[in-house]
């Protein structure tokens, strides 16, 4: 028996399939990583600062200290992800060398290249990338992303952008599925997306990789909303550890994602969660500080 192969497309997409129906939590310390695992997170995103603090403090946001990432990796048994700047393929090489499980090429960090994203096919480690619409999702998949997340607007505690992006993706998926074969090349041109992927969606009606929601999810109801809108799981960044009782809120969000169609359970887990993170109205954010517009 042979044909032994490591880091295949199947194993890259496959890990994301195993994360479905789960919550991936941003953590900045070993203690937070342990709380995340204890609360039922399917993975942690190891960071130096959560998006809310990056937004507040400003400056250039970069890949986290490898020492911190390694300590978090050693502290938990669940998968560990970490962020590289858009286009910063050396940060991605470093994260691959650390032996973590997924790289997020993320708009939450300051982009390193204003023209090109990382060629993710070059890597053994799988990548997740953000999108605001189907075209952006398919361009990232074309570059080798094995998982997609809608961007939302990170660090705001405001779910409105996540909803906008998920609705945009779902609506375009339905539209592409309904098209005739002769319409597909024009659709690819309009969406600025690879033609082969448009053909595939025309047949399946689905993205070829797993799609999570991210950016602004702060409550169990927010998480269940994204699931009902068609997300296959959620990333929660600042929403957990910027709240009054992180463990309780984390557990509640995990349960709301599992039972996303069961309002009785979501009501039950939403009781007495303490203070949610303070949200930001999107229109109050200066245009140049809107993170979702980073990447193209």
């Amino acid at each position: 028996m042979s044909n032994f192969e490591k880091s295949t497309w199947n194993t890259k997409v496959g890990l994301a399939q195993m994360l479905k129906g789960g919550v991936i939590m941003d953590v900045v310390t070993v203690e937070q990583a342990k709380i995340a695992e204890e609360s039922g997170a399917v993975a942690v995103m190891a960071l130096e600062r959560v998006p809310a603090d990056i937004r507040k403090q400003g400056g250039v946001a970069r890949m986290s200290d490898p020492e911190l990432i390694i300590r978090i990796k050693e502290a938990v048994s669940i998968p560990v992800m970490a962020k590289a700047r858009i286009g910063h393929f050396v940060e991605a090489q470093i994260l691959e060398a650390l032996g973590i499980d997924y790289v997020d090429e993320s708009e939450v960090l300051t982009p390193a290249d204003e023209e090109y994203h990382i060629n993710k096919h070059d890597f053994k480690i799988p990548f997740v990338c953000g999108c605001r619409n189907l075209g952006e999702a398919l361009r990232r998949i074309g570059e080798g992303a094995a998982m997609i997340r809608t961007k939302g607007e990170a660090g705001t505690g405001n779910v409105v952008e996540a909803v906008r992006h998920q609705r945009a993706v779902s609506s375009d998926l339905r539209r592409i599925k309904s098209l005739g074969k002769e319409e597909l090349m024009t659709a690819a041109k309009e969406l600025q997306a690879p033609y082969e992927l448009i053909v595939q969606i025309n047949e399946t009606g689905k993205l070829p990789v797993v799609n999570f929601a991210a950016g602004g999810i702060a409550t169990p109801a927010d998480a269940a909303l994204m699931m009902q809108l068609g997300s296959e799981g959620v990333f929660v960044g600042s929403g957990i550890f910027k709240s009054g009782d992180p463990m309780k809120r984390a557990k509640a969000i995990v349960q709301a994602v599992t039972h996303f169609r069961n309002p009785q359970i979501i009501a039950e887990v939403s009781k007495n969660l303490g203070e949610a993170m303070v949200g930001i109205e999107i229109s109050q954010i200066p245009t140049d500080q809107v993170l979702a517009q980073r990447g193209w």
Partner: protein, 220 residues
């Protein structure tokens, strides 16, 4: 062909797939294509009337905690005791095992196997390989291993169904150095366990094998 496989028939069995977290949709799809009727299981009352249950891949810690929280462990144990087949893939195999080397996480703990979690390493060590599985016939089965566990020991009550050898066997860093082969599938009466993910392939032989176990269980 070592064992006759399930073929579609009119008495379609009702198979539950534990849907707390993980790759349950892939199992549901394959079962539906094979003619079974399916049920997503998130609450104890959804176990009633099932002929068989699959515990899918996902994060075993997450699934285990949710099983405790929603009182699913006892009903699943009762299902096993009643003789109805239960199959765990990857995380599901971990949850079925009696022994996972002392790790502190919730388990169903009904199968006489000792399982090692994340046994091959991180995602960079995830792999695919062809495996010989005698009960499925001569054609090798494509095993997809994702941050996979393996079976360190099969106890006297269980039997080995497949093992990795050669290059993929040596991959297991904590494998026994005198015998690099590691066990990746096992059966114990109505229990079935695989370290890999048949639901991520186009090959339905393992699902048909399970449905055959369900059908044979129903005859007794």
């Amino acid at each position: 062909m070592a064992l006759e496989m399930y073929t579609k028939n009119s008495n379609s069995p009702k198979i539950g797939v534990l849907a707390l977290q993980g790759a349950f949709i892939e199992h549901l799809k394959m079962l539906t294509e094979l003619g079974a009727s399916v049920q997503e299981v998130r609450l104890p009352e959804e176990i009633a009337g099932l002929d068989g249950l699959i515990i899918p891949g996902g994060e075993s810690t997450t699934i285990g905690k949710l099983m405790i929280l929603y009182n699913l462990v006892e009903p699943i144990k009762e299902m096993v005791a009643s003789g109805r087949p239960v199959w765990g893939t990857c995380a599901g195999m971990i949850l079925l095992a009696k022994d996972i080397g002392g790790l502190n996480q919730p388990l169903i703990g009904v199968m006489d196997i000792k399982v090692k979690r994340n046994a091959f390493g991180s995602q960079l060590d995830s792999f695919e390989t062809d495996i010989a599985i005698p009960v499925l016939g001569e054609k090798p089965f494509r095993g997809v291993f994702i941050r996979a566990p393996y079976i360190e020991e099969v106890g006297p009550q269980a039997e080995e169904l497949a093992r990795l050898s050669g290059e993929s066997g040596r991959l297991a860093p904590q494998g026994n150095s005198t015998n690099p082969a590691v066990i990746v599938a096992a059966r114990q009466d109505n229990l079935l366990a695989t370290a890999f993910h048949p639901e991520l392939t186009g090959d339905s032989r393992f699902h048909r094998f399970f449905l055959k176990m369900v059908e044979e269980g129903a005859k007794d």
